[in-house]
């Protein structure tokens, strides 16, 4: 036998490093998902003309994402404003003017707190809902049925949800900002004994349009990220009802992680 044809028996399991195979498998899975996600987004962009036919769905999704989330956003934002106000007042030295509380509240809620907390709340509410809806449609063959009826299921199901998210998240954040400021004012006046005029003058002194615009830009990115990840997770769900449950949980985890990372990236770039 030729020397090169000889094979050396290799007990692979014994001598290999399991950690590398785990890393390899995880990396492969990650890049496979990333590739499919990017392909899905590319498909959406290429077929935007199809989505025009389904503009009614966009309006419907705007109502579902916007109207149905308004109450929780208002509630969370109001309390965030109140807490920010009370804690700011608590941390101030006695010789610092109390109007600074208004300044701290307006900066904190516009730049960071309202966009981030709204996104995290909606990652759970909107993201999970989208994944569960699309996942259920997938496992009950409703997505296949749409395709069988000659529909472009991505343009019909996914594009409207992403467009609605991009439009409605900033709207929710604007409402959230307003409620957080009012909550801050309420907290300052009722709990921290700061006069309304001092709070408002502090707010006016440090308010900049860009702070609000920055929050809206962030909300737009968050809206896109949350809805697109949720749609991806639901549309490609596998494994029946159990798969839908796992995908829904995965959406909440992934979107929360994506939001905080994006929050940092946007702050680094834009501020």
């Amino acid at each position: 036998m030729d020397q090169t044809e000889q094979t050396i028996p290799m007990p692979v399991e014994e001598y290999s490093f399991p950690i590398f195979s785990v890393i390899g498998r995880r990396s492969e899975a990650f890049f496979t998902h990333l590739g499919k996600y990017v392909s899905l987004l590319w498909w959406i962009v290429r077929n935007l003309s199809n989505a025009r036919k389904y503009s009614g769905n966009i309006a419907q999704q705007m109502v579902l994402i916007g109207n149905n989330s308004m109450l929780i956003v208002v509630f969370v934002s109001t309390f965030v404003g109140m807490v920010t106000s009370v804690q700011s007042a608590y941390q101030l030295y006695a010789w610092i003017p109390r109007s600074v509380v208004g300044s701290l509240v307006i900066k904190s809620v516009l730049l960071e707190l309202t966009p981030l907390l709204t996104a995290l709340v909606l990652a759970g509410k909107v993201g999970a809902t989208i994944t569960a809806e699309l996942g259920s449609m997938r496992v009950t063959e409703q997505v296949d049925a749409l395709e069988a009826l000659a529909f472009d299921s991505v343009s019909f199901l996914i594009t409207p949800r992403i467009v609605a998210g991009i439009i409605m998240f900033p709207v929710l954040v604007v409402f959230g900002d307003a409620m957080a400021v009012l909550g801050g004012l309420f907290g300052a006046v009722t709990i921290s004994n700061i006069s309304a005029s001092a709070f408002i003058s502090g707010m006016k002194g440090s308010f900049e349009i860009w702070d609000g615009v920055f929050g809206i830009i962030k909300a737009t990115f968050f809206g896109f990220t949350i809805t697109s990840i949720a749609c991806y997770q639901g549309y490609f769900v596998e494994g029946g009802s159990e798969g839908v449950g796992k995908a829904t949980m995965g959406t909440v985890v992934l979107t929360c992680l994506a939001v905080v990372v994006m929050d940092f990236v946007l702050a680094s770039i834009l501020l």
Binding site: E141, A150, D152
Partner: protein
């Protein structure tokens, strides 16, 4: 005419199809028989391009579905009606909206025409005046009938039935079988029925394709199948058929 030629497909390393071939002639009902999990439903999805085979050709009216672009596939799908195993009704829409969906988006129907079409399709499947109901309030048999109404609303040339009688009681299953036969005679559609229910298969089928281990074991008429010398075919038919049915064959 539909021609399935040497189809191969594997999922997650498991070979499901190993060279399936058969043809479906115009205006006939071909029943695909085989055990559960044998890839029969996948085969139906391949015919309208929902799943791509790893190898092989699927010709519909002489055009290869496997090579078609997405716009070509969507155009092809107008020719098909598909009854899914669980009916696959859109549960956020009423029965009427389920049927109207394809009419509104894919055809030039006036609103009045759409309502007439809904009534007509529901009448054909024997479900008058249920268009306002939600799918969740329907029984399994009714869901299948609504699924059928949705599939035939655009008067397709081809009908694909995925386990149309599975999970239904005998009377309801007989009703569905009757409908399949009526659709063939009244609308002249070419049909493929996938099932492991031999009784239903013999009621609706003109010809049969028996699949075993991912390959076509035999194609032929009821008589040819029942008188087959092939031991695997005999074993499959005998294991699936009840003594009373085999007696009157």
């Amino acid at each position: 005419m539909i021609l399935i030629e040497n189809i191969w497909k594997q999922f997650s390393g498991k070979q499901v199809h190993c060279g399936i071939s058969f043809d479906v002639r115009d205006k006939e009902t071909l029943v695909v028989l085989g055990k559960s999990g044998g890839g029969k439903s996948v085969l139906l999805k391949m015919i309208i391009g929902l799943v791509k085979p790893d190898a092989g050709r699927i010709l519909v009216d002489g055009k290869d579905v496997v090579q078609m672009t997405y716009p070509q596939l969507r155009a092809l799908r107008f020719k098909f009606g598909f009854l899914f195993q669980g009916a696959a009704l859109f549960d956020s829409m009423t029965v009427g909206e389920n049927i109207a969906l394809s009419l509104r988006r894919n055809a030039d129907f006036a609103k009045g025409d759409i309502n007439d079409r809904i009534d007509y399709a529901l009448h054909i499947v024997g479900l008058d005046h249920v268009d306002h109901l939600m799918p969740s309030s329907l029984s399994g048999g009714m869901k299948k009938r609504v699924g059928l109404a949705r599939a035939i609303a655009l008067t397709p040339r081809y009908m694909l039935y995925d386990e149309p009688t599975t999970g239904l009681d005998v009377a309801t299953a007989d009703g569905i079988n009757l409908l399949i036969n009526e659709l063939r005679t009244s609308l002249g559609v070419t049909s493929i029925v996938v099932t492991h229910d031999i009784h239903s298969a013999f009621v609706v089928g003109d010809r049969f394709a028996v699949l075993e281990k991912g390959a076509t074991l035999m194609t032929g008429t009821r008589e040819e199948i029942q008188n087959s010398e092939n031991e695997e075919v005999r074993k499959y038919i005998n294991s699936s058929i009840s003594p009373s049915e085999s007696g009157h064959a």
